[in-house]
Symmetry: C2
Subunit: 487 residues, 2 copies
């Protein structure tokens, strides 16, 4: 397999990459707008105007409709859609999940995709719903994986890149096992399949588990597609977990339903008095004009595409700047279920930490979840190398009279804890934090302080804390040190 | 004084209003782009294209430049600037703060503003820096207020609306006292003055105190202008505290410096690889094209205006929808100093609560500061009217076997606490909250539960809590009730 995916920048488990296909190289993360070959709400050829570099369509719809099929086979898919960039095609799996059966088999649809010049083909996997019982998921997963391996064999002499969907329902062990098996088989792209039901019911904590378990099984260099995710409010979180590709049917489906996407959630256009957006549609129309327009669906679809790609740019810029975490924190405050997803993400921080670059932009504290960031984890580990002897003063911000007489002066800063003053301008201790710490932030800082004291039994500690801090660990620490008082 | 300001919608202490001026009525909150009469980066006549309905310029600059002065006096200010909507004019106060003196006195500049047809005139107040010492602030405030009263007298037969800047540095008592004195004198618009140094140094907690103290002294029906605030990241917070008008020199000043505004902070254009925005400038240029363009300043100024007005729309829509709090929480996660501002805002919640409509959209939990929202305060007060007798079960989500045998079943939901199941679909108890509560949220819920138990000494309580909740109040409550266990 040639090296089709090159990672250029990283933040958390997210990355900017370059994906090479038969029709050129595209930068990821990116969104593939879904093009319905029957009705193009926005023609594929206009997609680059919105920032799309790659699109996705459904080979099964083309296969089933004689006129489309003939044209695609004669002129090729790119000519049919009038789009010269990379095109991914779905296989009929979606129809299988909706109708229970399709009129094509795996080998047929793979060969058809090859014959029309698809850039990324998808075998006929079984998108088992997340909540199906374990045995059913396991059984369907076995069928899926057989078909994927069959497709790999059928595709070995083709230029087409091949996607291997990771199924496994909501069972982390099955997802991870599937990912490990398929990841070592040498497919090109790895969609995470059948997650739409989780997103539709706002089960973002479960979505986080599904993504992380699939990612754990895959090689870290594999490009991952979160199949069916097209709402901009989820991009930052999903990218932070290592997803590289998204597809959006949402821009058109939501538009048909009168819905208006933003990175902070969805509005119905009839409920909008004002347009909270600067896109070319929203700066040239009022909400009422859009509602009343005969072109309402198209106008909404265009707006939806503009904000979708603006958010992808936002995410990419955040990766470049090393502040993707801060963007995720803001986006996850769009809905408490997303905040649940963020909390779940922090439970996977040991896994995320291994990908996160150690040098990045200034840490900005955003809330209790910021306590679990890789920077704080790493500082906790570094404490083991901090050897202290003699007299040690630990105090919050602001000099204390007589501090020159101590052998070491440590600054206490939640959520990190105590660190030597000399390090205060170094990353991550130059963090911007809030003046009155949240409880979780204080817990983290006090636990690290306790650990530091325990690691240096020969040093003589003095601990100065703030009067308004209320925390049970304070009295514990005061009992461990030689002197302590509140300021 | 005719009733020039009508409030139509409210949320927190924020409001949508209609401000009537000699040149028409504008909806607030809104931004007045600052027009430099010498150099118009974007001509005033184009401002409506961005959403501006009202502009502000500097009468002192016009007064000092013979050609401008003559034209303004002959043809009027609106003709000079080619703008037919309301125009506010500053007085030279800014120049006074920068240069220490100006070549005009208060009466002269008031009469000049009247003579050129200004819609909202500003007397020559003294913008004392926030950190000047108390006596100096008090003394300059007395001079300011004398000049304002002089202006009021000079303006009594004029159509011009008159602005009375509230000064008082960072001293809440002086700000509130000035606001009370001026508020009862019957000016039209109340700018809060000399806050730029606070914003420039990110002292948002101090800014919150200054706004709240001025607002406390003013009639709630008075339109308030946060003079000098033009960065979109601060609009949500400032509007939530009751500011109605903003002015933006920022769109042009930042552009001159190569800076690119967003509602989530500022970038330097040279640091942007991607444009995280869907505005007409950003969707038709790349970051590099803007950087390299001979029109760089104008392109950036246009982008800055687009995002400024998109954010105002965002804020107005949030007021309509009753979810301004959620927007403030997201915006305040742009920088830890803004989060300090949000925390400070929660310390004024008793004041804010009186303006906040009691019926609004579903409460979304966003973080520890959400615990201090008016909805939670009000629920705490309502506990006093909740009379319970017989056996009472308090339990978290999910039925417990045998619960039908209790006289009352109460659902425990942080941050609210315990409430009768019958109320679960009513506002605010239908709140969307996170599954694993933050410590502060649990504290609030447990304190309310304790209060409820104390208020109903004759009832027999059973308290069921979750195993993973760690909180000292749990054992306290367990000692107060007849039965308790963890699930």
């Amino acid at each position: 397999m040639p090296d089709i995916f090159e990672i250029t920048h990283k933040d958390l488990a997210g990355r900017i990459g370059r994906l090479t296909t038969p029709h050129g190289t595209v930068e990821t993360p990116t969104i593939m707008p879904v093009i319905n070959p029957n009705i193009q709400t926005i023609p594929a050829k206009e997609m680059p105007d919105f920032g799309a570099r790659m699109i996705i369509t459904n080979s099964y719809i083309i296969y089933r409709k004689e006129a489309l099929k003939a044209k695609a086979q004669q002129q090729g898919l790119h000519s049919l859609l009038e789009f010269n960039g990379p095109i991914m095609t779905d296989s009929g799996s979606f129809q299988l999940s909706v109708y229970g059966e399709v009129e094509v088999n795996n080998a047929q649809i793979i060969e058809f995709q090859q014959s029309i010049g698809t850039d990324i083909g998808v075998p006929l996997d079984i998108p088992t719903p997340p909540d199906a019982d374990y045995d059913k998921v396991k059984q369907e997963l076995a069928t899926t994986n057989e078909r994927l391996m069959e497709a790999l064999d059928l595709n070995k002499d083709s230029q087409m890149l091949l996607a291997a969907s990771i199924q496994g329902g909501r069972y982390p062990d099955l997802r991870e096992q599937a990912a490990r098996q398929l990841g070592s088989a040498g497919f090109d792209i790895y969609p995470i399949g059948a997650v739409v039901p989780l997103m539709e019911s706002y089960r973002y904590a479960d979505l986080v588990d599904v993504i992380v378990s699939a990612k754990k099984g895959l090689p870290s260099s594999a490009p991952v597609h979160l199949f069916g995710a097209g709402h901009p409010m989820v991009f930052a979180l999903a990218v932070a977990l290592g997803c590289d590709l998204f597809d959006s049917a949402a821009y058109a489906l939501y538009a048909k339903d009168g819905r208006y996407l933003t990175a902070d959630g969805t509005y119905h256009i009839k409920d909008l008095e004002y347009l909270p957006c600067a896109c070319p549609i929203c700066t040239s129309h009022s909400a009422r004009e859009i509602s009343a327009s005969p072109d309402k669906i198209e106008l909404l679809a265009r707006h939806n595409l503009y904000v979708t790609f603006a958010e992808i740019n936002n995410v990419k810029q955040a990766i470049r700047d090393g502040n993707l975490w801060e963007l995720v924190e803001r986006r996850c405050r769009t809905h408490p279920r997303l905040l649940d997803g963020l909390k779940r993400m922090t439970s996977h921080m040991d896994w995320i930490e291994q990908f996160d670059p150690s040098s990045k932009s200034t840490y900005f504290y955003c809330g209790p979840q910021s306590v679990n960031r890789p920077e704080v984890l790493r500082w906790n580990k570094r404490l083991e190398h901090l050897k202290l002897e003699g007299t040690v003063l630990i105090r919050p911000g602001g000099k204390i009279s007589g501090e020159a007489e101590y052998d070491h002066v440590l600054h206490f800063k939640p959520p990190f804890g105590a660190y030597p003053l000399e390090l205060k301008e170094t990353h991550p201790l130059n963090a911007e934090v809030i003046n009155i710490p949240d409880y979780e932030s204080l817990t983290s800082a006090l636990e690290n302080t306790k650990k530091l004291i325990q690691l240096n039994p020969d040093a003589e500690f003095t601990f100065v804390h703030r009067q308004y801090w209320e925390h049970p660990l304070i009295s514990q620490i005061c009992q461990m040190v030689s002197h302590s008082w509140a300021v």
